[in-house]
């Protein structure tokens, strides 16, 4: 069902913690415990190292590509409490902006949907979420911080799509752009935040998990006809949250896995969810016509074959 198109030996000297392909699917970025971020050209099945980005002094946990209309930007966050935005100019990568206003490890970074402008959200173990906004007129980055977003620490952030129609029947109105994001943390909670004027307010607090929430992902929702969020946790469960109006949310437990679950990722159209965790296995899930979630394949790592 899925076929391997490329295997990149990144040459990292330690474990990889994140890997992401850019908007067009032409470049791969990876980050690792060896403190570096590497960028590869993967066009046409090639794997050429374009650059190795050094600037972090600790393991790099996560990376994120920006929309290409802002240029080739890559954000990375690390144990060294820093967030670095890298920029490619004339095939050379350099530091574009460095943000070091967190008091502990920064665990998650994600760029907002491009319609909202160039905005980056960062979640840190100091419990706060930073929202960095770029103003092109003044060429400056402005940082807003949600203090104490999660007690003990924030592990993951994910943006809502910029243009979500309301699925409550009021279809014929054009919705204004709303800035919303979801976060998960060590307080076992999933929280939804909305920008209201110049502040960020907690819109919802979702409580089902019984241990640290490790990852959250807001679905592009195109095919699901309602707002959908996936969250995964140390309690070995993945939960799918759905809502028609972003106010009341219903939860469905997708599955209880064998080991802790680290990662959830939606496909571009939001109909397939990839799940991975401590057992080193990857599973893909989708909803059947009755709306029941089913495992559609098992991508075993290292071999790249599929069961089921």
């Amino acid at each position: 069902m899925v076929s391997i198109i490329n295997s990149v030996d990144t040459g990292h000297e330690d474990m990889i913690h994140d890997a992401e392909v850019d908007y067009y699917g032409l470049k791969l970025a990876t980050c690792s415990s060896d403190n570096s971020v590497k960028v590869y050209d993967i066009k046409n099945g090639a794997s050429t190292l374009l650059d190795e980005l050094k600037g972090h002094f600790g393991p790099v946990w996560q990376i994120a590509w920006s929309h290409p209309k802002f240029g080739n930007l890559l954000a990375s966050c690390s144990y060294d409490r820093k967030v670095i935005i890298w920029k490619e100019t004339n095939r050379k990568w350099g530091k574009y902006y460095e943000y070091s206003n967190h008091d502990s490890s920064v665990n998650s970074v994600q760029f907002a949907p491009s319609e909202l402008g160039l905005i980056l959200a960062c979640g840190s173990s100091d419990g706060s979420i930073s929202i960095l906004t770029y103003t092109p007129e003044t060429n400056t980055w402005d940082a807003k911080k949600i203090q104490n977003a999660h007690a003990i620490g924030c592990n993951s952030v994910s943006w809502a799509p910029a243009t979500t129609p309301l699925f409550n029947g009021n279809e014929n109105e054009q919705q204004p752009l709303v800035r919303r994001l979801v976060s998960g943390g060590c307080d076992n909670l999933v929280k939804i935040w909305r920008e209201d004027g110049d502040r960020w307010v907690e819109e919802n607090k979702l409580e089902v998990h019984s241990d640290w929430v490790r990852d959250v992902a807001w679905s592009p929702s195109v095919g699901l006809s309602r707002h959908t969020i996936a969250s995964c946790s140390q309690d070995r469960r993945v939960v799918i949250w759905t809502s028609n109006d972003c106010i009341t949310w219903n939860s469905t437990i997708l599955h209880l896995f064998d080991d802790v679950v680290w990662n959830v990722s939606w496909s571009l159209n939001g109909n397939i969810l990839a799940v991975s965790g401590g057992d080193n296995k990857i599973t893909l899930w989708s909803q059947n016509t009755e709306g029941v979630w089913q495992c559609i394949s098992d991508v075993s790592k290292g071999q790249g074959h599929i069961n089921n």
């Binding site: 990149v8 030996d9 243009t163 241990d211 965790g277």
Partner: protein, 875 residues
Amino acid sequence: MSGGMNNDYYVALECKDLQANAMSIDSTGTFVLLAGRRCIALRNLDEEYENIIKFPRQSKYDVGAAEWNPTSHNKEICVISSNERLEVLSWRNESLSGTSSLRAHTRVITDINWHRSNPSLLASCSADTFIHLWDIRDARKPTLSLSAVAEASQVRWNRISEYTIATAHEGDIKVWDQRKGTAPIQYIAAHVGKIYGLDWNPNREVQIASSSQDSTVKFFDTSNPRKAEFVLNTNAPVWRARYTPFGNGLVTVVVPQIRRGENNLLLWNIGNKATPMHTFVGHRDVVLEFEWRPGRQNGPNFELITWSKDQTLLVWTIEPFLQKLCGHEPDELIDYEDTSSGAEEKQNLPKIPVLQQEFSLLNVHIINLEVKNMNVNTRTVNVTSKVNNFTVNLQVTFPSSYPHGVPPVFQIMSGSNVNDSVSSQLMHTLKHLAQQRVSKNRTCLEPCLRQMVTTLEQLSSDMDSDRAYERYAEPSNVDHNDAYIPFPRTSGAKFCSVNALVCFGRPSITRRLGNKNESTSTPRALSALEGMLAKRSTDYMTVSAYYFQKQKLKYRTKQSLAKSSKAIVHIYDATNLFLINKQLAEDYILEGDIATICKYNAGAAAVVGRKDLVQAWTLAELVLGERRADEDRLWSSHPCGNKLIVSLIRHYALQSDLQMAAMLCCIYGKEQESSLRRESLKCLMSPMLLGPSKRWLKPTGSPYHTIPPADIVADGWLPFPKNTRSTSLDNLKVLIVPPKPLKTPYVAVYEYYKMAYAETLQRWKLPYKRAEVMKYMSSPLEVHKGVEFKSDCKMCQNPTTFSVCNTCKKFPIHCVICNISVRGLANTCLACGHGGHTAHLNEWFKTRKICPKCGCSCLTETAIIVDYLRWLNSI
């Protein structure tokens, strides 16, 4: 410049035709070897007259590096590198002969270095990223190869530890242990610029100096390399920086390519980073290589041998005062004299004179430092140092057995205003330096005082920037935080772009560990690592060590894990999981009338084998294609009319076949637009249907005039009933030419489908297809400027004739196809004002007639306007 000029050199060799780039001096300091492309020359430095022996060389490659074996056992062996080959030469009986040739590198060799003590061990590094260690007795292959990923520019054995070797890669230094050749034991991100030279401290095992393009020399403690111990700032990129064989000195030379007349060598005292101690002036061109040799008359003097591009070999004598400037205390001199006057006398020498002598020799003019009191009887010195906001009162007490292995005692006195961390760092540095010197029976007061000032300077300047860093580097502080930092992910999967699924994980061997027999699942916090592995080692524990441990317990296949790479990323093509299809995206059309579009697209769907889509397109054709004007109202409310289309769209959206949903939305929108147009036309035609408030017609219009139907048909409109009363043809034209923006009912979800599909097309790099879809967006059309050769800058509203706005320096024209500002050639329609990159528009209008943004027939309209303008000009 505190450094004086020294012309105390003599020319040992001046040879115009040598063209040598590499120089080396043998271990006895007698022979100097100069190697170039054409020949190798040897000169005996002990002989007064200029006597050189030349050996021609047949090679098309230059000599990259040359080095004599530094051990007495193999002192006649010399190795030179030539492109990707190493040549081992032997100097016997006044002749130089090649003994072997070492080949293993695949690209040019950048540097070589002999092991300091093992007479047959040689290291070479190359642009092929490998570092080979050779035993020259076995020339067939290297005994060990280190793989470094990046190309190496320098390789240097540690001068004390026999296992440690350092290599330079662009701006980074890797430190290897030859017993553990799989990976470097240290990795130092040292410089921003390329590193040209490396040198290990001859006295301190863990200190390495690196010189770089970024005009600095940095000194790293390889046991704690997070930050350079200190940095020497020079004004030009540094080619080589090498420790002096005496004292705390360092000699630097600028990069050969930079020919700014800086042909001098600088001598530094590492303790004083501000200015060089001495400048060696004499060369007329850049210095290519320099080395030390013991002086001639067996005295304590050293000689510096330098080879320059000006093809002269100069020998500089280093006077004792220069050595003293580098912190080399003349105590050895005294010892030397002492021994000459009798060992007995030396033993009886009272201890105080040593201290007295040190006090008398102390240079009290140290910047930022004031010596308050020196008392030989109480054996104490009091000094005050003021650096920026720091004030330190320090008392140094010298025990009676000082300096023979016993360091003085340092104490910070009252009146100082430094915090605990600064004072503890200062004390640590002072004690370290003092201990180092007294262990060699050397005095230490002046170096310690100088060191104190530099340390304070460094601490005060780094204070702010380092605050966060210090905390991070302090492991005790990190520990309790780590309890709240999640355990690192070592596997993951992400959907990226349109159809890529990016996966990474641990090597398959660790994967086999089933968790069924594991009592616990993966820990949740990073602190688990330290807790679990604390017993094993005191090193910093990484995630890989955790999995390694886990694995070793069970399988004991340590090597297989070490061999398999830890870091492979697999990219899967998940196209088959999705209904959206790239080939369809390329094939589908949206141009023309609805029936044609549906037929064509049904064909395209058949080609890729999507029978369901063929049916859907056929259905869409039936519903939307042929529609009678008079049936409009009835048909759209019929269950098999518009409702069918709406439910088709909903069906495909639910199936996540966004492509089909969006295409149907476009077709549906197109149909609605044309029916609206008909509707409004009908209203125009039948004024009696209009309410009084909507009186569009000119009152002068004749209500009885009938338009011949043929005119309308020619315009592409369907015929309307003949009995329709209408205004005159003239009036009709006036009314229709400025078309009222027609609006289809706005359905947010449809807009969303179209936008999401357009986004996918953009990711696929199909901008023309994207523009076609975006055309059907109901978002308010931009108000265009009409016929203008100047475009108004969107930012500042000033008209401009150039592609860059004069006022705000931005690009005013945005291409309607790719939505990027136009920097080069641009074309715009004179009627509707839409346009963009000439190339994009050419491509678009090759097959299409209608504007990518609106309903304007740009080509025809523009042609008419141009004709009109031409006509205006002609009259």
